[in-house]
Amino acid sequence: MTSRELAIETAGLTKRFGTTRAVDGVDLTVSQGLVYGVLGPNGAGKTTTIRMLTTLLRPDGGWARVFGHDVVREADAVRARVSLTGQYASVDEDLTGQENLILLGRLLGSSGSQARARAAELLEAFGLAEAAGRRVKTYSGGMRRRLDIAASIVVTPDLIFLDEPTTGLDPRSRSQVWEIVRALVAGGTTVLLTTQYLEEADQLADRVAVIDHGRVIAEGTPSELKASVGTGALHLRLLDPEQRPQAEQILERALGVALYREPDPAALSARVSDAERAAHALAALAQAGIAVTDFSLGRPSLDEVFLALTGHRAEEPLEDAA
């Protein structure tokens, strides 16, 4: 074993549920001391992968090692070095935040007073000191998430898994979680986080694996990934759909790239590399008397990454229909 062993190494990792191939031959290599992002749409196999790496699920095929320990044969050794913050809160809602943290401290071998001191320290650091004595049932989504992460670092792990740590959080809570992730990695913990947002992977991760249908379809640094999709996109909507061909010509000239005709007959979009050029293009439209009702300039979304990488859009989540 090398002096700097890998945090995670998997080869051909596979998990089937009935006929669903949830994870279908995943190869991952994660070095220590960095934030590794796993990016993928609903049902891509992110959670299933994490559950195998944290010994909760047994792989059907391939193997996975965490700090050199096989997740099946040396499950206990793996458990001793990692912790998991699942996609859904896994603290006891009937207990207070403080009691939850003391409970985990005791289970991890701390004495009563050590566990109490550690709980107080974490509650303070995570901005939960005031809510410490309240039952978790009464916490907001953001507070619950923070407590959930705190519960995973009662003993600072060498590797922490965060499964969609910011899904459903407002921007403020999200940036708090980001702050925690940065502090974790600064303290020497390796972080593997899953996300559906390219933005998040971009902000936090040193390296990213994009997975879809249980397979890794791209891997690299966020800049490498973005380079493969272009840096951003201009979307706009015209007042009068009749003017679309004319607008298309003007924009093509101003931006120097081909335009996409959206399914909406009044909408157009284009990949652009800089904001200034986009502004000029909009000004040119105004001069030609073409009215625009809506426009936005943004970074490529996960959907656009997918489109670029796979040629198909990430499928819409079915749950949203409910």
């Binding site: 458990r79 009937d94 207990l95 289970l107 071998g109 650091a125 925690i180 933005e199 936005s296």
Partner: protein, 280 residues
Amino acid sequence: MTSTPILTPARPIVDDTLRAALSPRVRPPRANALTASLTFFWRAMLKIKHVPEQLIDVTIFPVMFTLMFTYLFGGALAGSTDAYLQYLLPGVLVQTVVLITMYTGLGLNIDIEKGFFDRIRTLPIWRPAAIVGMLLGDAARYTMASTIVIVLGLVLGFRPAGGVIGVLLGVALLLVFSFSLSWAWTSLGLVVRTQNAVMMTSMLFLFPLTFASNIFVDPATMPGWLQAFVNANPISHLATAVRGLMAGTAQPEIALVLIASAVLVAVFGPLTMRLYGRER
């Protein structure tokens, strides 16, 4: 399309505190099996403290059963409620405690559904600790229910010949059996998907077992086929043994109850742990 959100830099989290809290520290020695189990027992006690409503099954039900059966059937079955109480009370005690064992499976099922057990299962601890601690917590609930039934019985005129020792031995035997039976419900709680199904399945077993027993009436008056069932029913043996101990006479059924308890643990203990370790 994600337009770049303009994030107001929210900093209620103090950077230095956060960094200090996250800097690596020494991992304490592994918790031993006893500490881990007792920690889960502590959790069970905290739940009682925070959600006292859940004690309804160990407080109100026992009172209701004792009063209802004593006055409803007492006169008709034993000539007088007072005479009947001497026969009934140990039985009602058995019924009450045996019926509330089913909440064990329910609690476990809720923990799994809420994801709490995922966290526990990734901890490097003695695996049965979570279940053992939970069952110890339940034993505390059984003790509470027993106390309530006995105190109420004494108020109503229950006068056990076995005295304090006899009563304590009776309760102890009942607790041993209930603790053992709880392992059957933990297995169930780990298999069945919904809380409702856990309740229905355990009732399906518990109602016939507790009612078709000698808890309320002497089986001598029953038709032959039912008598056969009642006499083979382990709950009848348990009731007879507890009744005997409280009356100051040790019955051979005590041995049967202990054997039944040992069998329950031997079968459902390993089964529970197997199911617990199983992936889901």
